[in-house]
Subunit: 336 residues, 4 copies
Amino acid sequence: MIKVAILGGSGYTALELIRILLRHPHVEIAAVTSRQDEWLHDLHPSLTGRVSIRGEPFDADKLMKKGVQCAFGCLPHGASREALPHLLNRGVRVIDLSADYRLRDPNVYAEWYGESHDDLAHLAQAVYGLPEIYGDEIKTAQLIANPGCYPQTAILGLAPLVGGHHIELKPIIVNSVSGVSGAGRTPKLTTHFPECNENFSAYNVGKHRHTPEMEQALSDVAGEPVEIIFTPHLAPMDRGIFSTIYAVPRRSFTEAQLLDLYRGYYEKAAFVRVRESLPATKDTFGTNFLDLCPKFVRGRIIVLAVEDNLVRGASGVAVQNFNRMYGFDERTALMA
Amino acid sequence: MIKVAILGGSGYTALELIRILLRHPHVEIAAVTSRQDEWLHDLHPSLTGRVSIRGEPFDADKLMKKGVQCAFGCLPHGASREALPHLLNRGVRVIDLSADYRLRDPNVYAEWYGESHDDLAHLAQAVYGLPEIYGDEIKTAQLIANPGCYPQTAILGLAPLVGGHHIELKPIIVNSVSGVSGAGRTPKLTTHFPECNENFSAYNVGKHRHTPEMEQALSDVAGEPVEIIFTPHLAPMDRGIFSTIYAVPRRSFTEAQLLDLYRGYYEKAAFVRVRESLPATKDTFGTNFLDLCPKFVRGRIIVLAVEDNLVRGASGVAVQNFNRMYGFDERTALMA
Amino acid sequence: MIKVAILGGSGYTALELIRILLRHPHVEIAAVTSRQDEWLHDLHPSLTGRVSIRGEPFDADKLMKKGVQCAFGCLPHGASREALPHLLNRGVRVIDLSADYRLRDPNVYAEWYGESHDDLAHLAQAVYGLPEIYGDEIKTAQLIANPGCYPQTAILGLAPLVGGHHIELKPIIVNSVSGVSGAGRTPKLTTHFPECNENFSAYNVGKHRHTPEMEQALSDVAGEPVEIIFTPHLAPMDRGIFSTIYAVPRRSFTEAQLLDLYRGYYEKAAFVRVRESLPATKDTFGTNFLDLCPKFVRGRIIVLAVEDNLVRGASGVAVQNFNRMYGFDERTALMA
Amino acid sequence: MIKVAILGGSGYTALELIRILLRHPHVEIAAVTSRQDEWLHDLHPSLTGRVSIRGEPFDADKLMKKGVQCAFGCLPHGASREALPHLLNRGVRVIDLSADYRLRDPNVYAEWYGESHDDLAHLAQAVYGLPEIYGDEIKTAQLIANPGCYPQTAILGLAPLVGGHHIELKPIIVNSVSGVSGAGRTPKLTTHFPECNENFSAYNVGKHRHTPEMEQALSDVAGEPVEIIFTPHLAPMDRGIFSTIYAVPRRSFTEAQLLDLYRGYYEKAAFVRVRESLPATKDTFGTNFLDLCPKFVRGRIIVLAVEDNLVRGASGVAVQNFNRMYGFDERTALMA
């Protein structure tokens, strides 16, 4: 049994993580930290009768005493890079669901997050936790920067095209839609029910922080710089990300060729489903699958990429990374 | 043209009121007060291009200078009974959408609202603004206590039965469901989209503040005390109230007799629709209608009562009251 | 491994059943029948990559050849009592999710379903599959009549009160709300998205077919006839049932006494959670839990009962019954 | 008073049209045709107490006897070009909300609609009813081809750029999202509540029939051929269209310059609102406004275009056209 801690237990990704870990045969949840000193089933009534854990303030020494071997960070960015070094320095392996260790270049971090990074040592050793791209590094990493929800759809949606240099790299259009849980659990006017129900809106046009994350990973895949125009939107639903990606091909494709290309690329990926039929977010609801459907329309390639933002987009891929790190079957606890 | 002011312009009832008043041929919106010193179209983007009014801090003298004759209070309870006396003492007529002047007995107010009432003089002269019951007093009132959203469904749903002493009066069960806009526009965890979407819950069971309001009006109609067991619930939709009312009849009824009773009672009510078919909240969406459907089931009377909580339940009935106060056709601006 | 067949694979209960059975360590899905001769992942895109089963026409002999030991019936009522005898007569154990074998008295069936029952032999031996009430009979039954979604909330919500003769038995009011998946997967105007989204309605007032089912089981518990007034409503959400039950107590209770009564009654029930806090349907979303919260309000008992209509209300309790029938831990595959 | 008929009264656009026309001071609804011989308030319960009209079978002579001067066609394509000639030949003016008379070239119609057009005479004289572009022709037209919902967002979103030759014309990407009412009122699996609630999907990728309509009007504006890549999506809401348009500029723009360009172009358009703030569909809910917000992002122009698909996208613009045809203020009945 691996003893794990969850840091920041009051949000949606923590709840989803707990649900998944409760069915993991090799995991024991040793501690959950929270600023609210409350029972987990009071923070999350759906956990009533399932766990008997009380949220406790973050204290690295206490976590060590409890034998914590691996920590999942569900803290906001900023708070994450304050807390995690205390565990990393004590030898704990960490999967950080925040954005703090995703961007290798601290200048890029500073530019998009508006604050300078102050934990450059750990940043330098962090591995970007997208298993289909960085699968080997993940196995031995101490610190995983768990990928953002939107970036996974863009990166996996484009990797076969970008990797084979089949498309123009500057720019690629990523038009994405998210359910509201992606905005977190802190009440705000924009996520107040009567504001976003029966409503569809765009936000952060041209300046969403997931843009450089997409560019970094896709540039790795391409071996040269990739530029993304990313437009996020909010749809009136709890969960789900739908990305519609537009690329200019360097040569013509039939749809059969595109399907072949994608199926070949993801042959060994347990959680990527390449589909001929148009996907819908509900096809992936509550699962760790990421569905891809490439189309060729009037000289352009359109890729549809779909996932559940809380599972595949956050807590599911975190456990997928965990399974890789500890040598378990990648699918453990993720096929419910 | 009657010059009106709207006090507290940032919430949903204020927005709905402005929409209705913009199509009223005899109204000029002279001022809107708001703690936020912002343009109305910034507070409410749907008003872009429709009004050019800036929210201003409440100042009774300034409102008088602007010639305000009638004020609609869209303030929270407590704030309402602080602000309104300044206008009432200057001769302005007031329609208060808060709960502050609804309960005639200040002890009942203190019991349910947890604070003592400090404007007993105006409380004594306030008229409960339910036109189908208190229509004549409304015409000459200076201060209207606009009725609550839930109470209107209960009171109008039960008045024909209670008025004719056809049912037992203690207790009557009112099981109600509301859309989320009824909770106001201030973000809270309970009204955060991912908390209430795809969810149905009860709240304030046995202690909702609309209970004594129902009892007061129904006791007026009955001429003796009425006791209500009221259970409010929240449904994942913006608008709409659906009340399912259970009463024990003192004699047996056919459904035809029930329909006759209700149709006779509401013969002259422009906004009450007595229906044979089962109503749905959407039938009244965006309108000032309140739909009633009485049924006789296994020895019990079940009344279904439906309305739009923001129109009939708040701003629409406020304008209906205004029309009565100023001698306009009751339906003016309310048939859109 | 128990080889099972699912009869009628195109609907929502079948999909939910497949999801659950895929994680059951002792089950092999040997066949799925369907009038549509299609791959399961075409009927249900979310199953893409998870099963490789093609819907086949119902043929009892073919199912026997495949070694089917237990069949789950997901057929509509009527169709169920036509198909199931072919399997029962061949010795297959059957869990029928339709209503065909729930009402012991064929006259009651005829009265509420408008057609006479023609399989009286099997009807006589069917066991009503509510494990918390009929747990022992279930173990040895060949034919389980899996309970209706609404009835489970009413029966389990009332059993502690009715069993102890703590309330008046005629009538008890059950006011219920369901998500739309309860209406099945066949498109109809009433379940067309723009008709039921942003809408709340009542239906089948006083004549819903789940009424006699509630009365039969509660009369068993009480040892004398119970009468239910049942009012079902439709809420704009996929899943969830919320029942608000009103009963007249024969003596006064404190809430602590009510909680004790319920906790004692359900001490050994793995899937009934007795709660002090007000429940919401989302607390049970995707789970087999049924949450109960009893309240004492103004001389009346109000019980709030909540479940997921597709899991606890149908496919989850079916697997719970299956686990009992085959001697597995009742919770197997049901704690995801 | 202009006497009007509504052809095909059972759908959503007809309901919306009736709502609008009921507040039009110069219109009398003389007849509503419907295959269902039913009262309008049975087809549309929200109209209870508002109209006393019974749907009648389509019969041109009967409509003439009732004095019908103008007909609104709310029939499906195909049915529309069968019925309308009977009225056109009798001198009635017609506003057709179907697609039958929108595409000038019958070959393009045949290509996209899969059937050949058989009313070429009327097709030749039809005017595309987009007032901001074809305002003068509309005044004197006998037959208006009311524009599609999606095309209006694309055409008005792009006209200032295309008109001034500021962008590349081949291709332009139009990524659109619609509420479910856009799919009409006939129940289908894809619009069944549990299928599209909590779901986001793409459909008809690369082959939606609104594509040639966008290209025809934009080519008119440009004076040269325009090519559109159009990807429609479905969001879980009743109403609203949100189009995110991506264009390659021929020169660089500041956002201020873009806003100036758009504000100048739509200076006299009563229903187009050019906005700096990011729009949301709810800002236009229930209104005839179309909101535009142009952005300049990483060398690309992104235009956000938003409307209510049933009002601006169908019945509202139909009444706007009607007002132009009969010389009324364009805003009559459209500012509710």
